[in-house]
Amino acid sequence: MPLPEPLRKQISELVTTHRVVLFMKGNRRAPQCGFSAQVVQILDELGPAYETVDVLSSPALRDGIKEFSEWPTIPQLYVGGRFVGGCDIVREMHAGGELQKLLGVTVAEPKTPAITLSPAAAKAFEDARAEAGGDPLRLSVGPAFQYELFFGPREPGDLEVESAGIEVLVDRGSATRADGLRIDYVEGPNGGFKIDNPNEPPRVRQLSAGELATMLGEGKIELFDVRPESERAIAKIAAARALDAAGQAHLAALDRQAPIAVHCHHGVRSQAAAEHLVREGFKTVYNLKGGIDAWSLSVDPSVPRY
């Protein structure tokens, strides 16, 4: 498939007119593919001015850029008229600090983050490492606080942290987001590694009906029902407070650090309500996954389903 000359010229102009150009699916506000979104996040974080070209706007361009770069996938990043790579390469260059150099952004030398492993977490890693074949433990924290915790080889530019006798390697891109992070390990069916990161902006967390029942039993959380009275008349969770005028007043008086949970019928309306509470300043907000329906199915079958 030869590239038509007018199209070659058009692409060539795009990549030489602008210093940083990202060919992607969608635009920087609304990426239409996860790989494009990852590169946008990285570029936004580094903050150089960049142009995006939406390849979905033109099938000819979408095929043409693949021919032009001799690269079969989207996104594609160009800097100074030269093809840099796709998502994988951009991510790796960002983690290693090469992308920052290429873009000419001065990023403060990241300081080695403080990371604390609980004794239980250290033991779990120790046990798992023997099975994993001896590679060191690596932690990466993505721009949207996606965590990856795995055993993998050492990479150039890694920052080394030690806690509880375990060495943890952190790539440079993750360092600032990982500072102050604590890792614990909990046994049991809802167990696993628990990450507590003070840098993470508050967000709505999901609770299963079983987890919520446990927390309510321990008096650790307050539960609110966002459904209207007409639905509460059909079925209700005894511990849940209605968000009527009295409930609203009670909620407004709560400490913003206090853990609160919300539920509705299936968990969709309450998710929206929970996101609203986060915007209102509540730091620890949970949504009951599956709503009162899940509660009826797995905690209290005496609650009618409807």
């Binding site: 498939m1 790989f35 001799e70 690269w71 079969p72 996938t73 093809f83 840099v84 790579g85 796709g86 994988d88 390469i89 790796e92």
Partner: protein
Amino acid sequence: MSNHPTDFQGDVITALREAIESKIPACTAEVTGGGGHFSIVATSPEFAGKSMLESQRMVYGAISHLMRGDMAPVHAVDSLKTKTP
């Protein structure tokens, strides 16, 4: 994992592995995935001294016929790693 329609007949994983191993000298390839999305680990002495871009381009070049067009059996390579033995 999303599903992508394709008119390709046969085992895509085998097709990917054979294409890479036949076109890159002394290369072994591990391919996993399905539903149009694949992960590839390719190991060859040819990658020595080459940048990640150059190495990945060799692999993409070897499998480009499987990635071309809307009905391509390979919609995306989610992860591509190149190593030297």
